[in-house]
Point group: C2
């Protein structure tokens, strides 16, 4: 990996003085085009060996461009808020909005590489994390983010020279610590581990660029030019009216018209008396489960999806009634806000993720992409096709971080929906619940049914399975929801 | 305080069953009107004695209304992210947007009262915190927030009975801890301290309501009705076309036309050579200061204000060049986003506040309210008049939390501004910096000058003084900025 990079080059002062003013003017121009267009965000990853000029180079970029539109983030140890969320949460928090440049030091690579060098993690676990990173970056790229990855390199001899030089000078001696020399001792291992990481995560869309850090002028020009080239290339495409996403092959139509949904018996029996008994029973059980000490280190993420009037709100209220108001939050998902639109699709869900010991209820969710956005054509086919895998990755990260993820599709028949719409229109208190749009959605019943079946097929995983809830009878549906939550939570806390 | 409240009342079951369905339907209606109008947020404070039904009552409100639009927050010990910010930061984070109801348990009252009961704080310090709270709440109210404050009360005998009852039942015995009995022992002192706090912070706009917690039905009806009454009253006003802000008396015009600005000598001498020497000197000094161990527990907040083309951007770049890119962030203040517009004015500045050891640079700031918003009439006179005191309070909280706040007004003459505008128009690289609006703003030069003078008069405090920078000569201005930061930082870290 490192061998193939341009190493040992130098840029002399005259050459630099000729290049620099043109390069910085071009970079500033490109930055303002980026800001004007507001079509994509730029994420620059800065990784590599300490002392190879990472900080200095970024300072220079800030000097050359308008620093008001560059956001630099350095990641140290996670804060307590960060430590209670999935590993990637703190990086999602730092993503720049469209139009801006985010510079991320010691990002998602730093922890995995360090732990592998120190043999805290095994090779297989390391490879798995690299694979997660690869998929995460692929998602960013497909969301339109321009991802630029720099690895700052120094040879072993170069590193030794740097440390010796620093030690020689009285004014800089304090900068060399024990840790620096220890790191120098493990250089070969670090070199191997990092090389492996870079090979595994270099892709055509987001290749690693190795920066030889030994000559300050050379590395400055190298990074500046690489950034400019990437930025200008993408800007040109956008300015010429970019069609960012390839179209995937359409899904084959279902031949037999039989599917997950139309084989369900949507009306299940349950009398009021039985309902009330079981409601009390399962609410009591849920109350106890969420107060168990074992739950303090876990969290519960509930996802409610279903057709209009399927009874999501009613089911959610029966769940929340069992919980302490201080413990849960309900997030109703509507159209994204301005700030959310300037970010990758999943960002607006990441931002809500709960701390440990908390319950988060999504009233509609990230599945909007493969439901309403697919059916209404709000995103391209390629976008919703890739969303299945991205969503599985996202939920996997939730579960790894200790969340119990329970997902419900509340299924009602067309007849039952019609009856409920009419009832709502007649009832002054429920009028607000029914809009023109609800009537329009009914016309697309079959398209939605297909989308639901595909969704359940592709995202019902072992760690986060879907539960289909027969919901023509509200009592039955609410009890099934509560019972399912209790069962899955019991299993998780066991 | 507590004596005057309705205590010892009971609501019998029949009465409750008659009241409840009507009350909850009315509350739900009011909640949806609130959501439709999106004109104000509701903040409900829940404080008082444990066991007096705080959690139960909020659960009930969630059951009665639509819990998707109620956000409950409980505050325990601050997280590490919270602990590095001013005391109020975590409460600002929890404020609901317009249209929603936020329920805040153990909010800004809990810490001060507990510390006073435990004698961690003295009476004078306690009174000062209450005064800060009073001003904070007044600000919320004037920003349009409907603030409703409940204090849940139990008599000493009532509390004893509750603990004994819990201990008697095998299933609830675990809920009574040592701490509960200790608290019971200090009941009288708690009663006195809380009574004092309530008296000091009860105002006509946001009075405390004492809830007798001994009877569950009584307290539920009491809270429900109080909430409904307050909500309905405000909704009626808004629906009838509310003029939320009183107009204050206009400021007297300056008689002599002499002011802070026109007595400054805006063009100060500085040659390029002297500039370069001093630039290096002060940048080096600033670099050292921000790397001092003492700075790790502090933060630096820089505010740059000035007319268009006064050189804010150039000055900021000379400052940021001295800093490590991992350490600072520049926040350019433009028009508020949708999410920011749904919050009190200062919210969008609070959300950016830095952690310890960091530098935050505001390119324009909260002073927009008393500058552009005042001059352009974007807010009422009453709004910008009260902003002076609110801003002083805000900066006071920053300083108390360890921030060094340095504020610059870059002052240029009209002639110099004109010359710079023309230069920018001629220069392709700077074209983007000049807009129609900039030309329009020039016509209001005198109005802006008056606004600046008033601003400096009223917000140049001992802890966060303004520095007027004579900026017709850019070299001089940049050096004065750097020198001032170094001086103030040196003093603060001494």
């Amino acid at each position: 990996m490192f061998e193939s990079a341009e190493l040992g080059h130098k840029t002399d002062k005259d050459e630099y003085d000729a290049i620099e003013p043109v390069l910085r003017a071009d970079l500033l121009d490109a930055q303002y085009d980026l800001l004007d267009l507001k079509q994509f965000a730029v994420v620059v990853l800065i990784n590599g060996i300490d002392g190879a000029g990472k900080g200095e180079t970024v300072n220079l970029l800030n000097e050359w461009m308008d620093p008001r539109h560059i956001q630099a983030w350095a990641f140290d140890e996670p804060t307590s808020e960060e430590a209670e969320r999935p590993f990637m949460w703190r990086f999602w928090r730092a993503l720049p909005p469209k139009g801006k440049i985010g510079v991320l030091f010691n990002n998602w690579y730093a922890g995995p590489i360090r732990e592998r060098v120190e043999r805290v993690s095994k090779r297989a676990a390391f490879d798995q994390r690299l694979e997660e990173i690869r998929r995460f970056e692929a998602m960013l790229v497909r969301e339109g983010v321009l991802l630029i990855k720099f690895w700052f390199h120094l040879s072993k001899a170069g590193q030794k020279k740097r440390l010796k030089d620093l030690e020689k000078d009285e004014r800089t001696r304090w900068r060399v610590t024990e840790r620096d020399w220890r790191f120098y001792e493990s250089y070969d291992r670090y070199h191997d581990v990092a090389g492996h990481a870079l090979r595994q995560t270099s892709s055509g869309e987001a290749p690693w660029m190795i920066v030889d850090g030994s000559d300050p002028r050379f590395r400055a020009v190298f990074v500046g030019r690489a950034l400019l080239t990437a930025l200008r290339k993408r800007l040109d495409v956008v300015q010429r009216g970019w069609a960012p996403r390839q179209t995937a092959a359409p899904l084959p139509p279902a031949v037999d018209r039989l599917n997950l949904l139309n084989t369900l018996v949507l009306r299940q029996e349950m009398e009021r008396k039985a309902y009330e008994d079981q409601l009390e029973r399962y609410q009591g059980k849920l109350a106890l489960l969420t107060r168990e000490p074992a739950f303090h280190k876990r969290s519960l993420v509930l996802v409610f999806e279903g057709a209009d009037a399927a009874g999501k709100g009613g089911a959610i209220r029966r769940v929340s009634a069992a919980l302490d108001a201080r413990q849960y939050r309900i997030v109703p998902i509507a159209a994204p806000s301005e700030e959310e639109q300037a970010q990758p699709y999943l960002w607006r869900f990441w931002r809500h993720l709960p701390r440990q010991g908390k319950v988060l209820v999504f009233d509609r969710s990230w599945y909007g992409r493969v439901l309403v956005e697919r059916v209404e054509g709000y995103c391209s086919e390629a976008d919703w096709m890739r969303a299945y895998a991205e969503i599985n990755d996202f939920e996997d990260q939730l579960v790894v971080a200790g969340a119990v993820v329970v997902k419900f599709w509340l299924a009602i028949s067309q007849d039952e929906q019609l009856a409920r719409f009419k009832e709502r229109e007649a009832e002054p208190h429920k009028r607000f619940k029914i809009t023109e749009e609800d009537w329009r959605n009914r016309d697309k019943w079959d398209a939605y049914a297909q989308a639901v079946c595909d969704m359940v097929d592709r995202t019902s995983t072992e760690i986060a399975p879907w539960t289909l809830v027969e919901a023509d009878n509200k009592y039955y549906a609410r009890i099934k929801v509560l019972r399912t939550i209790c069962e899955q939570l019991t299993r998780a806390l066991a």
